[in-house]
Symmetry: C2
Subunit: 329 residues, 2 copies
């Protein structure tokens, strides 16, 4: 096994890089991987750019996620941030820091997951460069690029009194998936153990997929922009927390209603990592297919967000510095 | 002390972010920090993009580098990769992963160093976004952006038989600085200890600065492009190793001469991290100010690089997977 699956520390940088590049497919950039930098097309004279990092420990556990899952998720969460500006993802750069005893099959799985997520969620987008380095902590830092194709970017700050609040994509599934992992896939000491799906219901298995390999509605970001969305963001940390950010940026209150949030509204309100799109539209907009109305925008009141008319008492979302407990799992 | 310098884990994400943003200066982007993504101008319809990561352990030690040094270096090494395409740096994104007991003064020092390096090396360039997350290992992943301003990018692959080989910037200083750290600033168990400069000569102190806070000749990348450079790259891993990469990409041999490499040619040949610019120019070019001829390009021979007419026997540069020994210091 080890003979056919050497550690990256035994292979060396150039050989590891060659294995990765072989799996990413042909470059679509003006200058792709292999030079000091990539050169990407920015057809309308602007480029959308965002970076988001997955770190072993707080963001994933190798006992729970396959390398393919990790590559997929690292791409998906960044594609969602591009979509949340109303843009079309065009390219990724990937900085990979990993222990030198990491098996090259792990790196290959990561590369496969990155490519598969791009193919599924943003077909023209490819990995066009990156960086390899050694670290005690497996870390995947992705930068995603996008084109607005002449559109104005849709910011968090554009929600106006009277607008409809809408979401596209799922809410709560990834949060329930995380709870499943923490509750059922740890040993007595709290250490994560490999996931077995035999005892899971189909819904539970789907929740696990939503956590490990999210599929945000990337194309609906441009659709929202074209339909006249006044504000747009992705729900990464929980609906209430992210809605409160949009409310603060826009100087309004967002009044949410739980009757469109499914059978488990409390997880839909607080669970992060689904990367649904939260948007506001003028009240007379025919909501584009894929968006569901969940509330309305009112003048700024005592609370940034109201849920069914009340301040939200429960947990509203995720803060990496408050919510990560290394002992939790 | 602790009361006035809380841990990031006690402050929370929003408060840490506010402290950083306050030190980065006003945004120069179409959409700056605070939304799902930045929107950057790409005036000629293309954007140069590169990412490079500094990891605690292999890339720096907090006993040796101040937070300011780290921020500076993280910016400088990425700016050099933009310059090495013949481009002008325009913006940075910074993904910061750090232990939750990291003091906020460390983050503030990092932000100050990032800004100072941009001000000194690429004055229009600013940090226009990023990501904060928790990690057991302090990690700074920077993505740098640049504009070619209508120029063609200068690749590694353009060196042609008969060209002059030239460098701009210094070679060997950062390598000697690293050797000083490893040799003189560790305790008996090999653990890094704080740097005291009292016993260093001025040259040694300058070498230390070159290692901890490099100042690559960023503006000379565009100068080289305008002067007709046929190939260009930055020397990050050692002159011989990086020259061999240029030779391989171009299908030529680079014949280097040590008579222009200063008093310590072996460190100039093998020492990394100075981020000098290595270029080739047509033989009849008047080399632009700041570039020094160090050899010529010949038809591909048995060796990618010759030094004073011979294959280079010594160490040629740095491979993170072969050269990092966690026990070394």
């Amino acid at each position: 096994m080890t003979e056919h699956d050497p550690a990256v520390g035994d292979l060396g940088e150039a050989a590891v890089l060659a294995r990765i590049l072989g799996r990413l497919g042909p470059s679509d950039a003006l200058v792709g991987p292999g030079d000091d930098a990539a050169v990407l097309a920015a057809p309308d004279g602007r480029v959308v750019a965002t970076t988001d990092t997955l770190v072993h420990g707080p963001d994933f556990r190798l006992a729970w996620s396959t390398p393919f899952d990790l590559g997929w998720k690292a791409a998906a969460v960044n594609l969602a941030d591009v979509a949340a500006m109303g843009a079309r993802p065009t390219a990724l750069l990937v900085a990979l820091a990993m222990p030198d005893d990491t098996r090259v099959s792990v790196v290959e799985g990561l590369a496969d997951g990155l490519r598969a997520a791009c193919d599924a969620l943003a077909p023209v987008c490819r990995v066009e460069g990156g960086d390899l380095t050694v670290s005690d902590t497996l870390t995947i830092a992705v930068t995603a690029f996008g084109s607005l194709d002449g559109r104005e970017p849709v910011l968090r700050s554009g929600a106006r009194e009277g607008d409809v609040v809408a979401v596209a994509g799922r809410l709560g599934h990834a949060g329930r998936g995380l709870a499943l992992l923490v509750d059922r896939f740890r040993d007595d000491s709290g250490t994560p153990v490999a996931v077995g799906r035999a005892d899971l219901t189909p819904d539970e298995s789907a929740d696990l997929d939503a956590q490990l390999r999210p599929s945000p509605p990337i194309a609906l970001g441009r659709v929202a922009a074209d339909a006249g969305a006044t504000a747009l963001m992705d729900v990464s940390d929980g609906l209430v927390l992210d809605a409160s950010r949009m409310a603060a940026a826009s100087g309004v209150t967002l009044e949410l209603s739980t009757d469109r949030l499914g059978a488990d509204p409390s997880t839909a309100l607080a669970g992060g990592e689904d990367h649904a799109l939260l948007a506001t539209f003028p009240a007379d907009t025919d909501l584009p297919e894929g968006f569901v109305s969940i509330g309305r925008v009112t003048a700024a009141g005592a609370h940034a967000v109201l849920v069914d008319g009340h301040a939200h008492a429960g947990r509203g979302g995720w803060d990496p510095y408050h919510d990560w407990d290394a002992g939790r799992g």
